[in-house]
């Protein structure tokens, strides 16, 4: 589960990680008030107004139809209000949102942390995640903070360091010190960095996170180490033990059709293609999408109906797929093992009749238990449903449908 920057900072702070302080605002007036409060607290007129959406690249992203970046510095509360006005309700397009962008519903008004002082400021990169090849957590860090880390990894891989955490003992002091030394921290900044790294790992471990990315981690001009941004992803399978994090879920950030599918216990991911599909099992669903592509179409979705492919789930699946007007054909691919194909076939026929007229051809491939009986049910239904048993036949039918030949 993804959460917003301001929520990520709440979690970080609760484990003692120093963060850039800020106040969430839903309106331009709230943004003005927030800027005034931050001035009282930190003594600076300057604040940063940051759009809160579930996507990165906000600083370089732009609001559609306006000259407004997703993250902008305001020199006073009036300016903060003006920026918030531009951002709120606007559609922010960044490198990660795709061309459709995301609507901004909240902004974070944050303290100015790049104030001048005794030493120069310095930005670092830090993340914690599972290293799947080792089945252990790793801390990834770099002196090259504040920029696209994938670019750094490609151009200067020697500047990216990894520290593996031994699950038996967790992050050790020597590891935190090594990280601080490798980042070139000295004096008070060194001590602060050790503290920061230690608290960051504790936060990751205790929050059942799947990923923490802090970019940048900032050394301020007075040698504080703070998280200026925070990208946190919580392991969905562990949410049952974190009801407080589960409450952070922002449904406005999610696709409405995907939410509807979840209500029916269907695992659905919306894509941009023209052939819908409905499959039992995640692996076979991905393979079915590949078949669609190889047949000349593009998958409109991923949809795993799980182990219970009955009339009810098939109908829900149909309705969800048909919400997408780009869909020109639907391929149902069920490998019946314990679930019998003739029952699924009957389910397809019943669901079809219940919906009424389905404007696109349906290709049903049923293989496994009672596949022949299932094909008969489909063929004799009198509906615009084409049946197949072997995967190749289904692929050929998809090709015909894509070419407009059925």
């Amino acid at each position: 589960m993804n959460i917003h920057e301001y929520q990520a900072k709440q979690i970080l702070k609760s484990f003692g990680v120093a963060v850039q302080e800020g106040i969430v605002a839903h309106t331009a007036d709230e943004a003005y008030d927030a800027a005034i409060k931050l001035k009282e607290q930190f003594g600076s007129d300057f604040v940063v107004v940051k759009a809160q959406i579930h996507a990165g690249g906000r600083g370089k992203g732009n609001i559609v139809g306006k000259e407004q970046r997703g993250v902008a510095v305001a020199k006073n509360a009036d300016k903060a209000k003006e920026i918030a006005e531009n951002l709120l309700g606007g559609t922010l397009v960044t490198i990660q949102t795709g061309p459709k962008g995301k609507v901004v519903n909240k902004v974070l008004v944050a303290q100015d942390v790049y104030y001048p002082g005794a030493s120069a400021t310095k930005e670092y990169y830090m993340s914690v995640m599972l290293d799947r090849s080792q089945s252990k957590n790793i801390l990834v860090y770099s002196t090259e903070g504040g920029m696209d880390i994938e670019h750094v990894a490609e151009t200067t891989p020697n500047l990216i360091h990894k520290e593996t955490i031994d699950p038996k003992v967790g992050l050790q002091g020597f590891q935190a010190r090594k990280i601080a030394f490798n980042l070139g921290c000295k004096g008070d900044a060194f001590k602060q960095m050790v503290k920061f790294v230690t608290a960051l790992y504790k936060a990751y471990d205790n929050s059942d996170a799947a990923m923490f990315e802090i970019n940048p981690v900032l050394k301020t001009s007075d040698d504080k180490i703070i998280a200026v941004d925070g990208k946190v992803n919580i392991d969905d399978n562990a949410l049952y033990r974190h009801p407080d994090y589960e409450a952070m879920r922002d449904l406005a950030e999610e696709d409405t059709t995907e939410l509807e599918a979840q209500e029916h216990n269907l695992n659905y991911v919306k894509l941009d293609g023209n052939v819908g599909c409905m499959v039992n099992g995640a692996g076979l669903a991905m393979a079915t999408m590949d078949i669609i592509k190889l047949s000349g179409g593009d998958p409109a979705n991923f949809l795993d109906v799980g182990g219970s492919a009955n009339a009810k789930t098939v109908e829900a699946g149909f309705r969800i797929i048909l919400k997408d007007s780009h869909v020109k054909a639907i391929l149902i691919n069920i490998f019946g093992g314990i679930v019998r194909c003739d029952r699924v076939a009957q389910g397809v026929v019943d669901a079809y009749k219940s919906i009424g007229n389905i404007p696109v051809p349906i290709i049903v491939r049923l293989q496994g238990t009672n596949a022949v009986e299932a094909k008969k049910i489909i063929d004799e239904s009198g509906l615009k449903v084409f049946s197949a048993i072997v995967l190749k036949e289904a692929a050929d039918l998809v090709k015909k449908a894509v070419d407009g030949n059925i």
Binding site: R132, S135, A210, G283, M286, T288, D290, F335, K392
Partner: protein, 290 residues
């Protein structure tokens, strides 16, 4: 010979008396798997499906000499169940449970290193040696006896592959569903290694998906070991978008190295016969054997 499970396997079921456990135990018994009992804490001493129920895996092992366990315990308790089986001396642990938090699996993976056991899964369809033992949830009739080994992350895609192998006039030695989670007990390479060393397996079907590096690791191992048996490979998810989870917890593209295209390229470079379409698995395996 086959691998992991055979007619001599003595199997217990953890989560025996629950809905899933009961249903699939019946199916396994019907198939002919030697289910010698089960474990449900607090229900020890009862009989279920005409087999004894034990409170602990240790009790079950002591009374039945079980050496294989299959786990249907809910996700919140499954990590504990795996460690209990490992501690009791179970040699092959098959964990079907989907949805175990990663944080729970990291210590499990560490814990079982010091035990004499092989963990298959979690989030997997199990293992089947056709005609001998089915320790899983797969439809047994699809898997006909033969000399092709199958390694796969997915359930229904494994059945699909097995069906194609059978339709090509061949059969299966052992099919290993390794699971679709980010942390699994037996990565692709280890499962392939078992089949490479099996005298009753002539060729291997290796099916993977987007996410992680298991398939690439296996491919490099296969090449380093001299491509002793032909391997047909397929990677699902060439159309999957970056950063979106495709059903399985582990099926998510993290970077440029774990896309379907990247994995397929490495596999092809390592001498694996890669098929672009999942519909071609059966024909390809027949072709490489001829």
């Amino acid at each position: 010979m086959s691998v992991l499970v055979d007619k001599n396997s003595k199997v217990i079921v953890q989560g025996f008396t629950g809905g899933e456990g009961t249903f699939h135990s019946q199916q396994m018994i019907e198939y002919g798997t030697n289910i010698v009992g089960g474990v449900t804490p607090g229900k020890g001493g009862q009989l279920h499906l005409e087999r004894p129920v034990f409170n602990t895996v240790a009790d079950a092992v002591k009374s039945t000499s079980a050496n294989v366990s299959i786990i249907f315990v809910p996700p919140a308790f499954a990590a504990d169940a795996i460690m209990e089986a490992a501690d009791a001396g179970i040699e092959v642990i098959v964990c079907i449970t989907e949805g175990i938090p990663v944080k729970d699996m990291i210590p499990v993976k560490e814990y079982i290193k010091s035990k004499n056991c092989t963990l298959i899964g979690p989030n997997c369809p199990g293992v089947i040696t056709p005609g001998q033992a089915k320790v899983g949830i797969m439809p047994g009739f699809v898997f006909k006896q033969g000399r092709i080994g199958i390694v796969s992350k997915s359930g229904t895609l494994t059945y699909e592959a097995a069906d194609q192998v059978v339709k090509a006039g061949l059969g299966i030695s052992t099919a290993i569903g390794i699971g679709g989670d980010p942390i699994i007990g037996t990565p692709t390479k280890d499962a392939v290694e078992l089949l490479m060393n099996d005298t009753e397996t002539d060729a291997i079907v290796m099916i993977g998906e987007i996410g992680g590096s298991y398939e690439a690791d296996a491919a490099r191992w296969i090449k380093a070991n001299g491509n002793k048996k032909p391997v047909v490979g397929f990677i699902a998810g060439q159309t999957a978008p970056v950063g979106r989870r495709m059903g399985h917890a582990g099926a998510i593209i993290g970077g440029k190295d774990d896309t379907a295209a990247a994995k397929k390229q490495i596999m092809a470079e390592c001498g694996i016969f890669v098929v672009e379409s999942p519909a071609d698995i059966g024909e390809k395996i027949k072709e490489v054997l001829e």
